[in-house]
């Protein structure tokens, strides 16, 4: 609230101060001097809410006509009641008799007082009409409004003129006070409805939102006016009259509520100030609760007049209890409308929990979490960083983070690290609350959400790992299929080769041997010497044996079965035409591995040695075998020509890899032109028991 604006509204200041003082004064003399039992209920139930609502609205929107009018009504109600009590007090104090003798003309004093009092009442009524009819902005929208509302001021002539026509005092009172008070708000509500109907679509919703307050308000005022009629029938003590009086305070409350609500919920009054919602809520709270107090007091007091003390106390208690739910409902309503959907801690957790169900995407989770915390805890800003520890980092922000010192973002008020075990999976940073301070409860919510979020991130991490593994497994499965096919193919090729050697080599040699035997026999029958032929056949037989031995060795070296890998490799190395050094760890001595492991390792060595002879032109080969970490390591290193590993795709290399991978091993080939070649296999070390050895070899 700037000083300039305050200066422009000096008049309104005076009005506001007057209203406050009058209300205090009226309360003081009403309760202490006049002992009027309606004082407190009336002031608390209608004047005070009206005045405060006006004061509050005007304070925040000093230029708004609606705010001014509301404050004016509140003040006017205070002034009127103060004026009335004051004159009553004066009349009592000086024991003036202002009543004219029957049949005489009105005394000027009496007449003046009456006119003044009635004019005051009428002004309140007219102000109420204008207030209602011109909601929400307080300005004329249609020409007919100006004419109708302008004409209303003409009613002010009635209190002065009507007594002159000789109309009875009571009738005048009804005409200028009770009736207008009853029907004029109805007129206001009717005008508002009309305005709503005629308004352009965009504005209609704003006006319609006010109708639930304005229309019942008008109806209630009508009811109140009706209760005045009952007074003429039953006197001021009539039960219906009291009911009317109780209800009569409602319209002012409803009106006040409508204005405050309109002002700050929809900014209908052009209030673009940032107003603390808690203050708005506080104001509404005061209005609702003072009205509640007024109601309860009125009922209690009324009952006290007719009933014994105990019973009236009971009635008061019952009344209080009866109004309590209404008050609670109103309070809740006000809170919801003012603060919007402020989530309870439970709701926040539930909402976030639902979010977590779909939290496979951290990029979406981070902003949701930030927004949830920002709205749920009413924080100025929240920054959420999720990820890390092998996950991509996602950042979500809600609210505007002000700049801090040196152009950097402002320091956070606090932060919650997202911990899962030792891993830091993210960080929640937050600024101060938009209003008030962070309570321990807020802190707990933040911490709980941080824990949940950490779990969510951990889940995402698990999911990512899982999908990576699934991919890996799929890739391996595909590779396995391919390598299995290659192995089968290689086996088929090998079988064909053996078949060829048996048929085309060994069988042919044996057939030749049989032929030579037949020749020798016929030679013998002729009495010839077959000694040379037999020697030749024996040599042939030796050759067949050698060939058969070689073939059998090629299919499966018996030394591998009988004595194991090291013996087989050493033996293989000895048969190489170039120097081959074999290093095997002591720990390998006498150890027998599973048959397939030994076979694969031996196959690798013999294939590698074959390759060395075929391609490498090496002068030396070193074979190394070792154990470690549950693995059997076999390495063949030559000093030959080498080859570019990226471009070489020989079936020999692929076959080696297939054989090694088929038994769960891995093969690395390091080579380059001129640097020699290192072929290294790491096989899962599965040791055989001796019994198993025998069984397997027998099979």
């Amino acid at each position: 609230m700037s000083l300039m604006a305050a200066a422009r509204n000096r008049g309104m200041h005076i009005v506001a101060v007057c209203g406050g003082l009058c209300m205090l004064w009226a309360t003081l003399i009403g309760t202490t001097q006049l002992q009027n039992r309606y004082t407190l209920p009336w002031i608390l139930g209608s004047v005070l809410p009206c005045y405060f609502a006006g004061l509050f609205t005007w304070w925040h929107a000093p230029t708004s006509p609606v705010a001014k009018r509301l404050l004016l009504i509140g003040t006017w109600l205070s002034v009127t009641i103060a004026f009335r009590y004051s004159t009553t007090l004066l009349i009592r104090a000086f024991d003036w008799n202002l009543r004219p003798a029957p049949g005489a003309l009105h005394l000027p004093a009496d007449y003046g007082l009456q006119v003044l009092s009635q004019t005051c009442d009428l002004i309140v009524s007219i102000l109420v009409v204008r207030l209602l009819a011109l909601l929400p902005d307080g300005r004329y929208a249609f020409p007919y409004e100006r004419r109708v509302l302008g004409a209303l001021w003409g009613l002010l002539a009635l209190p002065a003129l009507l007594p002159l026509t000789g109309m009875s005092r009571l009738t005048v009172h009804y005409v200028v006070f009770y009736y207008p008070e009853a029907w004029l708000p109805g007129l206001g509500a009717a005008l508002l409805v009309l305005r709503c109907l005629r308004a352009p679509a965009a504005g209609r919703r704003d006006i319609a939102a006010l109708l639930p307050f304005a229309v019942p308000g008008a109806v209630l005022l009508l009811a109140r006016g009706a209760s005045r009629l009952f007074r003429t029938w039953q006197g001021e003590q009539g039960m219906l009259y009291f009911v009317g009086a109780v209800l009569g305070a409602l319209p002012y409350v409803a009106m006040a509520l409508a204005i405050v609500y309109a002002a700050f919920r929809h900014r209908l009054l052009g209030v673009d100030l940032v107003i603390r919602r808690s203050a708005v809520y506080g104001c509404l709270w005061i209005i609702i609760n003072s009205w509640y107090l007024g109601m309860a007091l009125t009922l209690g007091l009324t009952a006290g007049q007719y009933l014994p003390v105990g019973l009236s106390l009971f009635v008061a208690v019952v009344a209080t209890a009866l109004f309590q739910p209404l008050r609670a409902r109103l309070n809740a309503l006000a809170e919801r409308h003012v603060f919007g959907k402020r989530l309870s801690r439970f709701e926040l957790l539930v909402q976030f929990g639902t979010t977590l169900e779909h939290a496979y995407d951290l990029g979406r989770l981070a902003p949701r979490l930030a927004t949830g915390l920002h709205e749920g805890l009413n924080l100025q800003w929240v920054r959420v960083r999720l990820g890390g520890e092998g996950l991509p980092v996602s950042v979500g922000e809600a609210g505007a983070r002000p700049a801090g010192a040196g152009g950097l973002p402002a320091e956070p008020l606090g932060e919650f690290p997202l911990l899962y075990g030792e891993d830091v999976l993210g960080l929640i940073e937050y600024g101060p609350k938009a209003e008030g301070r962070c309570t321990p409860e807020d802190h707990d919510i933040g911490e709980t959400l941080a824990r949940s979020a950490a779990l969510a991130v951990h889940n995402v991490r698990l999911a990512a790992e899982l999908s990576a593994r699934v991919e890996e497994v799929q890739r391996q499965a595909a590779e396995l299929d391919a390598s299995r096919a290659r192995i089968v193919h290689a086996q088929d090729t090998e079988r064909r080769r053996i078949e060829r050697r048996l048929h085309d080599g060994i069988q042919q040699e044996l057939v030749a041997l049989v032929a030579k035997l037949a020749l020798a026999r016929s030679c013998l029958r002729r009495g010839g010497d077959i000694d040379a032929a037999l020697t030749e056949m024996q040599d042939d037989a030796y050759r067949v044996i050698d060939e058969l031995r070689e073939l059998a060795h090629g299919i499966h070296p018996p030394i591998l079965t009988d004595q194991g890998l090291v013996a087989a490799v050493t033996s293989c190395a000895r048969r190489m035409p170039i120097p081959v050094t074999v290093h095997s760890e002591e720990s390998l001595g006498g150890v027998r591995f599973a048959l397939d492991v030994e076979e694969s390792a031996f196959y690798l060595v013999s294939e590698a040695l074959t390759n060395v002879l075929k391609h490498a032109a090496a002068t030396h080969v070193a074979i190394r075998m070792a154990r470690g970490g549950g693995r059997l390591l076999v390495e063949v290193r030559d000093d030959g020509a080498g080859f570019p590993t990226e471009t070489t795709r020989g079936s020999g290399l692929t076959g080696m890899r297939d054989r090694i991978e088929a038994v769960g091993g891995e093969l690395t080939i390091t080579s380059g032109p001129g640097t020699g070649t290192v072929i290294r296999a790491r096989l899962l070390e599965r040791v055989r028991q001796e019994k198993q050895v025998r069984e397997e070899t027998r099979a």
């Binding site: 024996q538 037989a541 030796y542 044996i545 050698d546 031995r549 070296p557 018996p558 030394i559 079965t561 009988d562 004595q563 090291v566 013996a567 087989a568 490799v569 050493t570 033996s571 190395a573 000895r574 048969r575 190489m576 035409p577 170039i578 120097p579 081959v580 050094t581 074999v582 290093h583 095997s584 001595g589 025998r694 070899t697 027998r698």
Partner: protein
Amino acid sequence: MPDPLRVVIAEDHYLVREGTRRLLEDTGQADVVAAVGTAGELLDAVGRLRPDVVIADIRMPPGHHTEGIAAAHAIRAGHPGIGVVVLSQHANENYAFDLFRRGTDGLAYLLKERIGEVDELLRALREVVAGRSVVDPRIVEVLMGSHARAADAPLSRLTRRELDVLRHMAEGKTNRAIAESLRLSESTIEKHVNSTFAKLGLAEIPQLHRRVSAVLAYLRHTPTGPD
């Protein structure tokens, strides 16, 4: 003509078994007292008949593994006077190492086809009966041609000439035969033989055994070979 050798043959293949028996008996230098098909029967026959020498197939039922070698060890342990010739289809030195791993005396490792050269077989039988040792020339040939060397092998200390002499020793030749082969004097060969023994740490053991031990040291020259 010396007394015929009392021989027990263990061979699971019937034709080979009977063929060997007839070949030996035809020479008149051997008397086959039993011909059996399994290692168990062999040990039983040896216990009962106390032959001079045993010819055993390396692979026999039930395992078709190296039952012959195991039986040879058992016979040598139980009856040190009985020589054992193991016939093997494996031209692989590691089986020979396996046979000789507890000592070389009275043991021979021959390839099976040697039964076609009955004189050679008989010579081997007499050698093992005499407590000496024989290794098939084919095995020696493999080792001679081998380039595989361990840096710390005792053979690395031998000169080229000493290695040549050793190779001839491994083929079962006498110093004179070696001298003829290498066209050197017998005394020169003797010098080489003695220095070889010294380098292999064999100077202290009796003459006859030294020759075979030297050969086996030669055979077992890789660090990974069985002991």
